[in-house]
């Protein structure tokens, strides 16, 4: 009974860690640019696909996937910001949402055309002996996903908070005009934010590929989970994104195990609904100083 619970919890944390990574990327972009990138899920899908290419197709060592993919997807994301989003900088939110939604669809379709199969399988990175604690089986892969994704996420938050790279984005998030007065270039900061968001999405894709396979549905699953986790945590809170992701993963896992697999989505959506209606600032918001 307890063992079963432990397994469910573990599965929840595994997916939760990936949701955390995905949500983080979404929140970073939103914090810096005030827009939600609905193509974020597509970036994750491209990351998963790239992982397939590197590991299965070209048979390079697995660690290269973790290194090259965030760089490539990040670059692709920055390029798309320059090509599509910069001309729309002055447009209203409605237009930007539409543009990113269909951008995601276009990317998904482009992928489907290159590899016209339903689902691509990618093996895990670690396939060795699992550990067993208190009767609960923990595979090496699970441990890697949870630890790796969380370390990367936390590292990102630290980088954002204390590093030079993050300073411009945080300044832009706090006040666009104030940042410009300091000399930060809006064009540069936005591109970097998208690059970082894309890199995180790509990484999420690499982590999730062995668990879910590569398919167009992955795109929608990631953007939905990322968005819900972001809202749960508080959409402008980086630590909220991580905690929200973990919470979402665990709740979905519990729902799938104890209610039904189909209902797991319903449960997370109801959670989203409640948070939006009654605690729109999220469950783990960052502190906000009151303006005097």
């Amino acid at each position: 009974m307890l063992v079963e619970f432990g397994l469910v919890l573990l599965a929840g944390l595994k997916f939760g860690a990936i949701y955390a990574l995905a949500a983080l990327g979404l929140v970073v972009v939103h914090k810096a640019t005030k827009t939600v990138n609905f193509a974020h899920g597509a970036f994750a899908m491209l990351g998963a696909f790239a992982s397939f290419l590197i590991v299965v197709h070209w048979q390079w060592p697995y660690w290269t996937a973790y290194l090259l993919i965030p760089l490539t997807i990040g670059a692709v994301a920055a390029l798309l910001e320059f090509l599509v989003l910069r001309p729309l900088r002055r447009a209203d939110m409605f237009t930007v949402v539409i543009a990113t939604v269909f951008l995601g669809i276009a990317l998904g379709e482009a992928f489907r055309l290159t590899y016209n199969t339903e689902l691509l399988a990618v093996p895990g990175m670690f396939v060795g002996e699992p550990f067993i604690y208190w009767g609960v089986i923990i595979t090496q892969e699970t441990l890697w996903v949870i630890a790796g994704a969380l370390v990367i996420a936390v590292g990102c938050v630290v980088l954002f908070r204390y590093g030079k790279l993050g300073r411009g984005m945080r300044a832009m998030a706090a006040s666009v005009r104030g940042a410009q007065i300091c000399g930060y270039s809006v064009d540069q900061v936005y591109m970097v934010a998208w690059g970082l968001g894309g890199a995180l999405a790509g990484l999420a894709g690499v982590f999730v590929a062995p668990m879910a396979g590569v398919s167009v549905e992955l795109s929608i699953a990631v953007i939905t989970a990322g968005f819900v986790a972001g809202v749960l945590g508080g959409f402008d809170s980086l630590k909220g994104a991580i905690l929200g992701g973990l919470l979402l993963g665990v709740i979905e896992s519990l729902a799938a195990a104890y209610i039904s697999s189909a209902m797991k989505n319903c449960v997370s959506f109801f959670l989203l609904f409640f948070v939006l209606m009654w605690r729109p600032e999220g469950l783990f918001p960052e502190k906000v100083a009151r303006r005097v």
Binding site: T35, V36, F38, V84, P87, L88, A91, M93, F94, T95, V97, I98, A99, V101, F102, L103, I105, A106, E109, A110, L113, N116, I220, T224, F227, V228, V231, S260, A262, M263, N265, C266, F269, L272, F273, L276, M277, R290, R291, V292
Partner: protein, 602 residues
């Protein structure tokens, strides 16, 4: 005499009938295609109302269609309800779905709204899939052939006729709504919320109505298409189809029924035209939408308008010509004054503001402020930046709450009443940053100013307008009289956004006087105007005050203007009223000078 303006908007209806007739003349395969295309046109038109006019993103179209389709099909198969009644029930459940989405939906815009609708979409499909006992789950259910009063709808031609007639009817109904006051008020509500509320247009109520009406039509279209599709399964109403249907109003053109027709029809026919490159369809589709959003935001309608520019400019001239004829046709009597006339110099108090207090955190923005405006009087409110004038003004006009104090208007308390109640009480306002409804014509802007803009009223009025009833005559007459009073009668059919700033300010004034209010609140009415225009507006305000007995409360920075316009003046400093009285005398006081200049008062 007004019949020539009535029954406008029959052209979409005619277009649909034309397509139906065209299809009947072609082979069976095309009959099938055109039938499906017509349903997409209906969806496109419904989405124009929600996505175009109300500016609400929805990713739930598939789910609402599914709800309608399953409703009518299940009623037919389980209970044996006839098809036509099933259609109405589908519309009803569609409307219910729209109302459910609107509950949280009207609170959000942009990406949060998109997410709420996505949630609804996903949950609805999951529920449909899981309720196998009811819906047959993922295997789907078979839709029987409809029987209408003995006529079995079986052949392609039968379907085309059925779908064609019903589509035309529904599109006609939606056209009546969008072209009438309902559509105009909806555009106002989504275009400029604050100005809309100031004239009695309740933004949440209109957005909710947009959700309900558009979902009603979409549910109906689901039931209409169901027998043609023959087998219903939840996946075909999933997220991706919903997103693609969102493209209909965007590509077609978001502000008019024609946009829905062109977008829905055009995009639905695309797969047929792109058969040779079927795989690239969706990619092409998505790229097309991105291109439209980036380079042709007006969609196909705008593109056609530009390329057939000459045809339309002739139409515009014709419209302008018609408008200039209207004053001659209309009898010159404006609508009877509702309020009793009182001499302009009456000392009876119309508006009494007492002891208003308001803080923003530690800042005491308004400090025990009191103002009185006599009936028919003109009262000014001046003060340096940050003195609290705007806060006090917003409290009086209903856009900000006071913490303490009273506001008494001709015996009624205004405190705690929302902004939208004011027009019915006889108070209107203008805005510092001009808040005309840009996409609407001048005439339409002023008609909104008449008030009586509740959702149900405007729906009734829309049908009345369509048949050219008396209400429409009265509306146009009042509006033209107001436009004439401010000197804009010849611009009546021009879109408000095309006017110069000075004329837009006049338009705001026309909108504010058309309901014959007792008090107009003017917020920096001459901000940004050149000195000649300032003088013109001053004359206009004096004339309006004299002819129509309308009292005014004017907030301004332009002190010479205020001195020559207002009969009484209040000066605010650091949240409190520091002086009041006759303008010349007040301005000359050292205390007032000090307020502006600091210690070194001249």
């Amino acid at each position: 005499m007004f019949r020539r303006f009535a029954f406008g908007g029959l052209s979409p209806f005619a277009a649909v009938l034309f397509c139906t007739a065209l299809g009947l003349a072609l082979q069976n395969y095309f009959k099938y295609v055109i039938a499906i295309v017509l349903v997409s046109m209906v969806i496109g038109v419904a989405l124009v109302v929600l996505v175009g006019l109300a500016r609400c993103i929805t990713l739930a179209t598939g789910a609402v269609m599914a709800i309608g389709a399953y409703t009518s099909t299940l009623l037919m198969t389980r209970i044996g309800i006839p098809y036509l009644i099933g259609l109405f029930c589908a519309a009803a459940t569609g409307a219910l779905a729209g109302w459910l989405i609107a509950l949280p939906g009207t609170r959000f815009r942009g990406h949060n709204l998109a997410m709420v609708t996505l949630v609804f979409q996903a949950v609805a499909i999951i529920l449909l899939r899981e309720a196998k006992w009811l819906t047959g789950g993922a295997e789907g259910i078979h839709v029987p052939q409809p029987v209408i009063f003995g006529w079995r709808v079986a052949t392609d031609a039968d379907f085309l006729v059925l779908i064609g007639l019903l589509s035309a009817l529904v599109i006609l109904l939606v056209t009546i709504l969008t072209r009438g006051p309902f559509g105009k008020n909806l555009q106002a509500a989504s275009g400029n919320e604050i100005a809309a509320e100031a004239f009695g247009v309740s933004v949440p109520a209109y957005l909710r109505a947009a959700f309900v009406i558009s979902s009603m039509v979409i549910g109906f279209s689901g039931a209409l298409a169901a027998p043609r599709i023959r087998i219903l399964d939840p996946e075909s109403f999933g997220v991706l189809p919903s997103i693609f249907m969102l493209a209909y109003p965007i590509v077609g053109g978001m502000q008019s029924v024609w946009g829905g027709l062109l977008g829905g029809g055009g995009l639905r026919i695309l797969p047929e035209l792109l058969r040779p490159v079927a795989d690239f369809q969706e990619l092409f589709f998505a790229s097309l939408v991105i291109a439209v959003v980036m380079f042709f935001p007006g969609g196909m309608v705008e593109l056609l308008r530009r390329s057939t520019g000459r045809v339309f400019s002739r139409r515009n001239k014709q419209r302008a010509g018609e408008a200039s004829l209207l004053p001659a046709i209309i009898p010159p009597e404006p609508t009877v004054h509702v309020w009793p006339t009182v001499p302009a110099n009456s000392s009876e108090v119309l508006l009494r503001v007492e002891g208003i207090d308001r803080h923003f955190g530690a800042l005491h923005a308004v400090n025990a402020a009191s103002i009185t405006v006599p009936i028919g009087g003109i009262h000014g409110l001046i003060g340096p930046n940050g003195a609290g004038k705007t806060s006090l003004f917003n409290i009086i006009s209903g856009f900000l709450e006071a913490e303490q104090g009273h506001i008494d208007f001709a015996g009624t308390s205004l405190l705690d009443r929302p902004a939208r109640d004011r027009i019915a009480l006889g108070i209107t306002r203008t805005f510092q940053h001009v808040a005309v409804f840009g996409q609407l014509s001048c005439l339409e802007n002023v008609i909104i100013g008449r008030g009586r803009n509740a959702v149900m009223d405007s729906i009734k009025q829309s049908f009345d307008h369509f048949v050219g009833g008396r209400a429409r005559e009265a509306a146009i007459r009042d509006a033209l009289a107001a436009l004439d009073a401010v000197g804009l009668a010849d611009q009546a059919s021009m879109p408000a956004s095309s006017l110069s700033l000075g004329n837009q300010r006049r338009l705001e004034l026309a909108r504010a006087i058309v309901s014959n209010p007792r008090l107009i609140l003017l917020d920096e009415p001459v901000s940004g105007l050149a000195s000649a225009e300032v003088e013109e507006l001053r004359q206009l305000l004096l004339r309006t005050n004299a002819e129509r007995q309308i009292a005014m409360l004017v907030v301004e920075h332009n002190i010479p203007f205020v001195a020559k316009l207002c009969r009484t003046l209040s000066v605010m400093g650091a949240g409190a009223i520091v002086a009041e009285g006759n303008p010349e005398e007040v301005i000359a006081r050292p205390g007032v000078r000090q307020l502006y200049f600091g210690e070194a008062a001249a």
